[in-house]
Every structure is written in C-alpha cells, then in structure tokens.
C-alpha cells in the first residue's frame, strides 16, 4: 500500500531527513524500487554528499588532517556534517564550526592544541578566499595633519585577520604542512599563548600564500584596537606601546589595512 503523493516540499524534507540522518522510510516509500532497494538508491546520493563535504573540510584543514590521520579526520568530518550541515551552496562557510566541533569531541581530548590548530587553519582559509581590496598606503597618511591623523580610523584589510591561541598553533601548523617531524617534536607547548596576525600576501594570481606572524603582547593590544575601528588617538590610549610607531609602520608596509575612502568619520568631533 503506497502512501499518497507528497507535495514537493514534503518530499524534499523527507529526502533531507533520509540523506542526513538515515531516517529513510518515508523517503523510500516514494521511490520506485525496480529491482534495487530504494535505500540503496538513496545511498548513492548520501555517499556523494558525504564525500563532497569531507573533501571541502580536507581542503580547509590539511594540517589537522595530517595530525589526526585520514581515518579519524573523515570520521570527524562525517559526524560534523551530520550535526551541522551547510546552509548555502558556496560551502565557503561550511568549515566555520569545525574547530569548535573538534574542541568538543571527546575522542580528540588527548590533543589539547587541536582546536587552536583548526581555528588557525580556518583563519588561513578565510584569508585565502577574502575579497581583493586596495591596501592603505602610507602616502595617504603622510598628507594628513596631526589632528586628522589622530582621528584616523583604520580598517583591517579583508585578507588580514587576528587570532589569539592558547597553544603555539603557528609552529604546529608550519611543522605539519612542511612534514617536518623533527620540528614538530621540538615544539614547546608552553611557548604560548600567541597572538597571531594571519595575512594573505600578494594579489591577483599570486594571491595564494599566507604569512602568519606573532605579535608581542603590546603589538597585539594595539593592533586589536586599530582593527576594531577606534580612532588612532583612542587606540594609542587603550594600548600604549613604546614602539607604536614601528607597529603601525609595519602594518602599513605589509598592507594590513584597507584603503577606505572614509577612514575618518564624516563629521570630526
């Protein structure tokens, strides 16, 4: 006895339940068997979805995968995809929740630095895919008078991001990607915490490499204040640095700020 014909909406919901959660019976009832179990037919689509999502996570988290091994990684990816399926077609946000998922995974508890490594890889991914933008050139600031400069609000370049890690995730990341077992073994996990600036270097078709630099405590506080949009004078008050000038000059030289047409508020105080 076959069920009545579903609406398209009903059918799509029951297929989703089958493909994500193996809750197959309602969906199977709508499928013609023709000599093959409908569950097997649906399984072909489920396998493609799982493979596609696992591949997306592999591309975004290569160091994590190398650290935990392909079997563990693919198993974690499958669990994550079932728990937090993607919300849109570009898949470019799909991995955002994976670091926290790993942090909560009981099977990963033996690797306390795993979540930090994953968070770092996610920032790398974001930075690699960030939109192009003209970097703020020091010449723009050179033409400003003192009060205009003091009121200047900086904006982080879309391909420059900050990440605070409790573990030396940058050293771990580098050693894993370079397959340098000696370097990995030599890492002191107590060489932490670290404040990292993740930045895509180059542009156009050379825009495929990432720099990760450690900021000392002072530079971290100042950079965070600048990236948050505080006017320069307020950022310097909030995060006084003996070498503030060098920190700022370094960011400008490396293109860490975006060139915005209105870096100052329209109406100066």
């Amino acid at each position: 006895m076959h069920p009545p014909a579903p609406t398209l909406h009903e059918l799509q919901r029951s297929l989703r339940d089958s493909l994500l959660h193996h809750a197959g019976d309602p969906a199977c009832a709508h499928v013609i068997a023709d000599g093959i179990d409908p569950a097997q037919r649906l399984g072909i689509y489920r396998h493609t979805i799982e493979s596609t999502l696992a591949r997306a996570l592999r591309l975004s988290f290569p160091a994590v995968r190398h650290l935990v091994g392909p079997e563990f990684f693919d198993g974690a990816a499958r669990l994550f995809a079932a728990e937090s399926p993607p919300h849109h077609a570009g898949l470019d946000q799909f991995g955002a929740g994976f670091p926290q998922f790993l942090a909560n995974l009981p099977q990963a508890a033996a690797l306390p630095y795993l979540a930090d490594l994953a968070r770092l890889e996610w920032q790398v991914d974001l930075v690699l895919h960030a939109r192009e933008a003209a970097p703020l050139a020091v010449e723009r600031l050179a033409h400003q008078d003192e009060s205009a400069l003091a009121a200047w609000r900086f904006e982080a370049h879309p391909a420059a991001r900050l990440l605070w890690c409790e573990f030396p995730a940058d050293a771990i990341w580098r050693a894993l990607l370079e397959r340098d077992d000696a370097a990995l073994a030599a890492i002191d996990l107590a060489d932490a915490p670290v404040g990292l600036l993740v930045h895509r270097s180059g542009g156009g078709i050379a825009a495929c490499s990432v720099d990760i630099v450690r900021l000392d405590a002072c530079a971290w506080r100042l950079t965070s204040a600048l990236f948050s949009g505080l006017p320069l004078h307020a950022a310097l008050e909030q995060a006084p640095c003996p070498d503030a000038h060098a920190v700022l000059a370094g960011h400008l030289a490396h293109g860490h700020f975006a060139d915005t047409c209105c870096a100052r508020p329209m109406f100066a105080p």
């Binding site: 398209l8 994500l20 709508h30 023709d34 999502l53 391909a159």
Partner: protein
C-alpha cells in the same frame, strides 16, 4: 517572454561550436603560462565567487579564452524558492567574467536552511515543472540573459512522477525560453539505469533549444544481487557508446559547443585535449556530411 540570446556568434567571448574543456584549479597555472590550443573553457560558477587566487586566474584566462559558467548551487527545483543571496553572487560572477554561456541543472539541493551537497532528483510532476519554470524565469530576469538547463543523471525515480523527463525539459524550454544543455553521458547513464531509450530521449529534445553538449566518463557500481547502476562520476574518458550517442546528438541538434568534463582523478590537460579533439572530429564530420533535414 523569451530573453535575448547572449550575444551574436562573432562577439568576443561567445562560445564557438567547437569542443571546450572543463577547467579545474590544477590547470590554472599551465593555461596562463602555456596558452594551450583550447577553444573555450567552462568552470563551476561556485568555485569562482568571492576573492582569492581562483577568480584572479579566471580573470587572466578570460582575457584570452571564451568562458562558460556552469552553476551547481542555485537549486532551481527547491519548493521553497531559490536563495536570493546566491543568485546575487551568480550575477556578480556573470558581470565579472562576461561568460559566453551560463548554465544550471534540473535538480534541487536546498530545503529549509540545509544545503545538501549533491544534485538531487526531482519528481517529474506538474508541481515541479511549475516550480522550475518560475525559478528559471527569475534567474533569466535577474541575469538578463538566457540560461541553459542541463538534464540530470539519476539513480532513482519517484512513484508519483507523471511526465517523462525529456518532455519535462522540453516544456521548461518552451515555457521560459531557456536553452538546454544536453549532457549525453547523463542520458546514457539515466537510460541505462531506468531502461529508457537514449536515442528516443535525444530526439524528444527541441533542437533549437540545445545550446551546449556535455561529454564525460562514468563508472559502474555493483549492488546487491548482481544489480548495477551507472554512476555519473566524471572520472574517466568518454565511453564508446556515449561517443556514439554524441554523434547522434549532433545529427539531431546540429553543431553546438561540446564540453569535455572531468572532475575527479583529473588527468593532465593533454588528456583532456585528446578528448576534445575527438569531439571536434565529430563536429568536423558533421560539417562535411551531405546536408540532411533535422528532425522537427
């Protein structure tokens, strides 16, 4: 109302009635550096949205080659409507890359807030036909151009389907003025899986609507009790019976651009160019064959 065709054939960027190649990331550098003798390239639209190296490569490649944008993410068959933000991103990509062709699939992927990362089968019903046509209209209106809709490869059929798939496609084209992307490998795979006649499928498609042909490899999956299904995995050379179906397609549709798709275990560009050469040879044969009337 039918939207205008996307440019006359001699516009720079128009896709010629020759074989093209599906461009993958691993080919970017060699295409930019070596400028191989390929007539045109097609990419998956979703891989070239946003920023970074990939769209920058496509900018460079587009300066020297016509490009076609083939989307997988619009989910034209979703009962709840298409994602406006995604459509906006597609439009940005179309504006940035000025493609000679824009295409999508007869399938669905999104329901509720979930995106299911595959091209899922639609029931062939009046309701689904109405939904797809509404969305094709919406997309063509937003992009201000005709799009092509590709026939799917499918591994199941629904009990409550009432319209043959080939008639469904023909009707979408008739109601919306969209074109069709005839994937000959998909016809072969689906026909094999469901006991259809591939030639009859081809002949049911309106020739004037067909704007592109896809060619790809497939594999055979063993299931329980000795049953098999053909799987459209784009991971190998085009199979001999698919080449035969392609030649029949050219007889029926006339010369249209033909694309070599290879998405997994992707070989060096030279292998894809060999496949493209085979497709071009069939197009040449067609041009030199005695004139014959196309089936109406």
């Amino acid at each position: 109302m039918k939207p205008p065709l996307a440019g006359p054939p001699d516009t720079p960027g128009a896709i010629p009635a020759q074989a093209g190649i599906g461009l993958r990331f691993r080919h970017h550098e060699v295409v930019v550096q070596a400028h191989p003798a390929v007539s045109w390239f097609e990419v998956h639209t979703e891989n070239y949205m946003g920023g970074g190296a990939a769209p920058a490569y496509l900018d460079a490649i587009r300066r020297d080659y016509p490009v076609s944008l083939h989307g997988v993410g619009l989910s034209l068959g979703s009962a709840e409507g298409i994602d406006a933000a995604h459509l906006a991103r597609v439009r940005l990509a179309v504006e940035r890359f000025a493609p000679g062709l824009v295409s999508e699939h007869l399938s669905w992927s999104a329901t509720g807030t979930t995106y299911l990362a595959d091209l899922l089968p639609l029931p062939m019903t009046e309701e689904a036909l109405s939904v797809v046509c509404r969305h094709v209209d919406q997309v063509q209106s937003c992009l201000r151009r005709r799009i092509l809709i590709e026939n799917p490869s499918t591994y199941l059929r629904f009990r409550h389907s009432t319209i043959p798939e080939w008639d469904f496609l023909a009707e979408v084209a008739r109601r919306t003025g969209c074109g069709l992307l005839c994937d000959v490998n998909n016809i072969y795979v689906s026909a094999s899986n469901h006991g259809w006649d591939g030639l009859a499928y081809l002949r049911a498609l309106p020739p004037a609507a067909v704007g592109e042909i896809h060619l790809a490899g497939h594999s055979v999956r063993q299931l329980d009790q000795g049953r098999t299904l053909r799987i459209d995995d784009h991971g190998s050379r085009v199979a001999a019976p698919v080449w035969a179906l392609y030649r029949a397609a050219l007889q029926h549709f006339g010369a249209v651009p033909a694309l070599i798709e290879w998405d997994t275990e992707v070989p060096p560009l030279s292998v894809l160019m060999e496949e493209a050469a085979s497709a071009d040879a069939a197009l040449e044969e067609l041009r030199h064959a005695p004139a014959r009337a196309h089936a109406a």
